[in-house]
């Protein structure tokens, strides 16, 4: 009966909501009934209440704006550098073959632990967070850009050559559109890494936006605020990923 009324996608969404709110309800009940000490765990309602009060009357919106600014700045740097270097690595085969493995190896190592170096150069400022985070976004964009150009169907290039297109026109009308979906995959990955890095570094270094708020609340042992910060950071991450997925869907369409 339910299946005839509700579309499968809506049914899935409802089930997900039921699962999420069921879990949150269980935590709420556990805290209210005293099964878990309030010193360790704030009830979800308390966390949302604190988050709302910070959004309305506190400086949560300002902190979110700082985080968004850091993400946007890091993405801009990563995009410009990533596209340029990715194109060079594809255009010059020897350079590509030489540095692709080096970049991948560097990316696989725990580079984020080198953040004190950036603190020395840029101080405890957003600039340190932006520059280091942009590295995490740049590498996937470089590798995906190179791979995207490599995967362009050679027949398309032959068609362009037979039409006597100039190099600029070939790039603009054939190479770039053909490589765009795969390049966007790199953006998606890059933005995901930037998001994780910005929020993580803000928390560790205690500078910038939402991550810093979480860190300060933890130092003050404000349990409600810790969980509010956690909820806010998680929601921000989820919102970003949702937007990236939507954008990728639209690009591929």
């Amino acid at each position: 009966m339910l299946e005839t009324i509700v579309r499968p996608a809506t049914k899935l969404a409802l089930l997900r909501m039921l699962l999420i709110f069921g879990g949150l309800g269980f935590i709420e009940a556990s805290v209210r009934l005293g099964w878990i000490d309030r010193f360790f765990l704030a009830s979800p309602l308390q966390a949302v209440e604190v988050l709302w009060s910070q959004l309305v009357g506190g400086n949560a919106l300002y902190l979110i704006m700082i985080t968004l600014y850091e993400i946007a700045a890091a993405l801009l740097i990563a995009t410009v550098v990533g596209l340029l270097v990715g194109f060079i690595l594809w255009r010059y085969r020897l350079i590509g073959a030489s540095y692709e493995t080096l970049l991948a190896a560097l990316f696989a190592s725990p580079v984020i632990l080198a953040y004190p170096i950036f603190l020395v150069i840029f101080g405890r400022t957003s600039a340190a967070v932006i520059i280091l985070s942009s590295f995490f976004g740049t590498v996937p964009i470089i590798l995906n850009t190179k791979s995207a150009f490599q995967q362009v169907n050679p027949i398309l290039l032959q068609v362009g050559a037979s039409m006597n297109l100039t190099r600029q026109r070939m790039f603009r009308h054939i190479l770039l559109p053909a490589a765009a979906p795969a390049i966007f995959g790199g953006f998606r990955l890059g933005l995901t890494y930037i998001l994780k890095s910005v929020l993580g570094l803000e928390y560790v270094v205690q500078v910038g936006g939402v991550g810093m708020w979480l860190s300060e609340a933890a130092f003050r042992f404000e349990v409600g605020e810790v969980y509010a910060g956690l909820v806010g950071t998680t929601l921000l991450s989820i919102l970003f990923l949702f937007m990236i997925n939507r954008a990728e869907f639209l690009v591929r369409k």
Binding site: P110, P140, Y203, A218
Partner: protein
């Protein structure tokens, strides 16, 4: 004549294969030489770039004396413990989730969205529950390792072809037999890849947590040296961590490729690390 052409072709192919390695070596030499010169002359950020020789000297002290052993032990406990807990939770949950497509349909987006949240931000919660000792770092390592392991196990479960299950059932195989003879060989490669990626995630998570609040550990030492502005010691410690992480990754890769070939499709899981 043909032999000569073939020899020339094979020589040029070998040359082409060696060329990237030569460029990499050249880049490394130029990088090290430039750093050494900057360090010696103090022309750019004098305190920030100590000479390479100072860094290597410091590294030698780490490997030849027991100075770092308590910190290495604390970090290894957090990282390997984190990997173990992550695997103990991730593999069974991955199997359960992966074996139920309808349940997976409901939960998959939730898991994928949560996988992208930076795990270090859960550290204050672990501090509340477990204190500032090693266990809270182990917990960060565990949650960081959990997602790649669970997600790759789920991916492996999805790859199990239903025809294999049908054949096993037709032959009257018990549930245990199906699990050990059909599922396990099919998903082992994915689990191994998950463990390898999980190790990297655990290293990053646990050591990053150590840089925040700790009393021991390699991450703690990095921040200590940074606080004391002992840059050569900090660089050598970072170098040591990179070398150890690379060796662990390489060792796991070699071990797993000996045990079974890794699935190609399980390589593109970077975003969940």
């Amino acid at each position: 004549m043909n032999l000569e052409v073939m020899q020339k072709t094979s020589a040029s192919a070998a040359g082409r294969a060696r060329a990237p390695a030569a460029v990499q070596l050249f880049t490394l030499i130029v990088f090290l030489f430039s750093w050494q010169m900057i360090g010696k002359t103090g022309s750019i950020f004098a305190e920030l770039f100590p000479p390479i020789t100072d860094i290597l000297q410091s590294l030698w002290i780490y490997v030849s004396t027991p100075i770092l052993i308590p910190h290495l032990a604390a970090s290894l406990y957090a990282v390997l413990g984190g990997l173990l807990v992550g695997a103990l939770l991730g593999i069974p949950l991955g199997v359960i989730f992966g074996s139920s497509p309808s349940f997976m349909q409901v939960t998959e987006p939730i898991i994928l969205y949560l996988a992208v949240v930076p795990k270090i931000i859960v550290f204050p919660v672990f501090i509340l529950f477990l204190g500032i000792g090693t266990h809270s770092k182990l917990a960060v390592g565990a949650i960081a390792a959990f997602f790649p392991i669970a997600l790759l196990t789920i991916a492996g479960m999805r790859e199990v072809r239903s025809v294999f299950l049908d054949v096993a059932r037709t032959l009257g195989a018990s549930k245990l037999k199906i699990a050990t003879k059909v599922y396990l060989p099919a998903i082992a490669g994915y689990i191994f890849t998950g463990l390898r990626i999980g190790l990297g995630a655990s290293v990053t998570g646990a050591l990053l947590a150590e840089t925040k609040i700790a009393r021991a550990g390699l991450g703690f030492m990095i921040v200590e040296y940074y606080g004391q502005f002992r840059m050569a010691d900090m660089y050598s410690l970072l170098l040591l961590i990179f070398i150890l992480a690379a060796l662990a990754n390489w060792g796991m890769k070699a071990l797993f490729s000996l045990l079974l070939p890794l699935p190609r499709s399980s390589q593109n899981f970077g975003e969940f690390v």
